[in-house]
């Protein structure tokens, strides 16, 4: 599903954020990218949906070399990739329903599809009763569920999660992880960057560990270490 070949990414003249990274993620896998702040986890995620382009190496997603594709094709790539962030990135002037609908609206999905898909995904994340709330009326965990609903409403092949539990208390974070696990069980590939040891140890999934931009460990059913 995702394959990186000798990828190096440098910001400015600094030392590389990612150096010579190579790995492959199979369809339906759940992978943790772990390591301290600045180790290059987020950069790796941003390389996977072409928010960043590497200096060297290739990034293959769903059978395509995404840095070789034309700019005009990038939006269609991204329709297959959902994104979740530590700070949720919800639109504050829109309700829960509108935030999720927005993701379908701006890729031109018709109204009747939106009316059908949005309640279904809100049901999946457990927010059916809060459709008309605004983000500031929700707890952090609920806001993150809205952002997961928005990322998943178009049924993407891949979900990229950048520190999704970073702003949440442990119990709420566990709830989010159970939700991501359920989404993973539907066949969606999940790549999650985190430095939350407890969660990694709890999940026992594949762990790719980074240190100053270099992959130092890649382990099936690993722990944070």
């Amino acid at each position: 599903m995702i394959r990186l070949e000798n990828v190096t990414k440098t910001y400015g003249t600094e030392i590389p954020a990612v150096r010579d990274a190579s790995f492959e993620i199979a369809k339906g896998e759940f992978v943790f990218m772990v390591g301290p702040s600045g180790s290059g986890k987020s950069t790796l995620l941003r390389l996977m949906n072409r928010q960043e382009q590497p200096e060297r190496g290739e990034v293959w997603v769903a059978g395509k070399d995404i840095n070789a594709m034309a700019d005009s094709k990038v939006p269609y790539l991204r329709r297959n990739i959902g994104n979740i962030f530590q700070d949720y990135k919800l639109l504050l002037n829109k309700t829960v329903f509108e935030n999720v609908a927005f993701a379908l609206e701006v890729i031109g999905r018709p109204k009747h599809v939106i009316r059908q898909q949005v309640p279904a995904v809100l049901d999946l994340v457990g927010l059916s009763d809060k459709e008309d709330r605004f983000p500031h009326q929700l707890s952090g965990g609920e806001q993150q569920r809205v952002s997961i609903a928005r990322a998943f409403v178009n049924r993407p092949l891949i979900l990229l999660a950048d520190e999704p539990t970073g702003n949440l208390d442990p119990a709420t974070g566990e709830g989010i992880m159970r939700l991501l696990d359920r989404i993973n069980n539907t066949g969606t590939t999940v790549v999650m960057a985190t430095h939350d040891q407890r969660i990694v140890n709890m999940m026992r999934r594949r762990v790719v560990q980074l240190d100053r931009g270099v992959i130092v460990r890649d382990q099936e059913r690993g722990v944070y270490d």
Binding site: N49, Q51, D71, R79, N80, N83, E105, V106, G108
Partner: protein
């Protein structure tokens, strides 16, 4: 498709409301610059009217002293008629003092001081000469021969007026064109800035849109529509202004009918043509300015 269109219009309208002051500045600037563009067209056309009127018409006027006796007048007329290779004898016209006075009443309608000094007794009579030859030197040579003739007060050439009018109209054209170009650049700059502000206000939404895979065109179109609307509203305002100006001018000039000034009126048909051009320029400048701005701030 309908969903996309309604999305674009909803966003455009929301954004216009959000940036009222900046939008107003952009609209007013483009209106003023387009008004200048339109004025340039109209002034140009008016002067063209004036000049074409002279062209097919009288080129040379021989003014006869008010105290000239009929014999002297006859000599002048005979001398003119003896040059059928240069002047069109059939179109040679003599305006006696009463006729010249009547003409002066209109010519100097805007200048009562001069008019008070004129009486049917002291006004010169005049021969209006239409040449056959296109050679202005030849006409001038002929005219100079009359200067020395007894009873001749003055010889006037249309060419002299023509030159002045041509020079004035060229000056006005250059000045208004330069000003309207400068203002148009300012207007596009303001539209650009409005769009940048609008995009900054919506940067979160744009970020989300890009992440969920909205195409750049989808993101860009509401902003382009906004710029297009600003240019178009500016165009409509400039059309109203131009129409008002032209009406006021036509009304004022109507009092000077039958003089050269009357030629400076632009007819409705040409006015409509200019208005369409103004709306077109406004819409295109707005759409292009905002389109470039939107692309600049929309790097993938």
């Amino acid at each position: 498709m309908i969903a996309r269109i309604s999305y674009a219009f909803r966003e455009t309208w929301a954004s216009l409301k959000r940036n009222v002051t900046l939008t107003m500045a952009a609209v007013i600037t483009s209106a003023v610059s387009l008004l200048l563009v339109g004025s340039t067209f109209l002034i140009q056309r008016a002067f063209d009217n004036l000049l074409t009127r002279w062209k097919g018409d009288v080129e040379l006027i021989v003014y006869v002293r008010s105290d000239a006796d009929p014999n002297q007048i006859q000599v002048i007329e005979d001398a003119l008629k003896s040059q059928p290779s240069i002047i069109d004898v059939t179109k040679l016209r003599y305006l006696d003092q009463a006729e010249s006075y009547a003409e002066a009443q209109k010519l100097f309608a805007g200048d009562p001081g001069t008019l008070r000094l004129l009486t049917p007794e002291n006004i010169p009579s005049q021969f209006k000469v239409v040449p056959i030859s296109q050679d202005s030197n030849l006409i001038r040579e002929l005219g100079e021969q009359f200067r020395g003739l007894a009873g001749v007060r003055e010889v006037a050439y249309a060419q002299d007026v023509f030159d002045v009018v041509a020079r004035v109209s060229q000056f006005i054209r250059i000045a208004t064109t330069a000003m309207s170009i400068v203002l148009l650049v300012v207007a596009v700059g303001l539209i650009w800035n409005t769009i940048r502000t609008a995009m900054f206000a919506r940067r979160r939404e744009i970020e989300v849109m890009k992440l969920v895979g909205a195409t750049n065109w989808f993101i860009r179109i509401p902003f382009m529509l906004e710029g297009l609307l600003q240019g178009l509203i500016g165009g409509v305002l400039s059309c109203l202004g131009l129409w008002g100006l032209n009406s006021a001018w036509s009304g004022a000039v109507a009092d000077f009918n039958d003089t050269e000034l009357a030629a400076l009126v632009v007819t409705d048909g040409y006015m409509r043509f200019v208005m369409i051009i103004l709306l077109g320029i406004g819409a295109i400048a707005g759409a292009v300015g905002s389109g470039i701005a939107a692309s600049r701030f929309l790097d993938v």
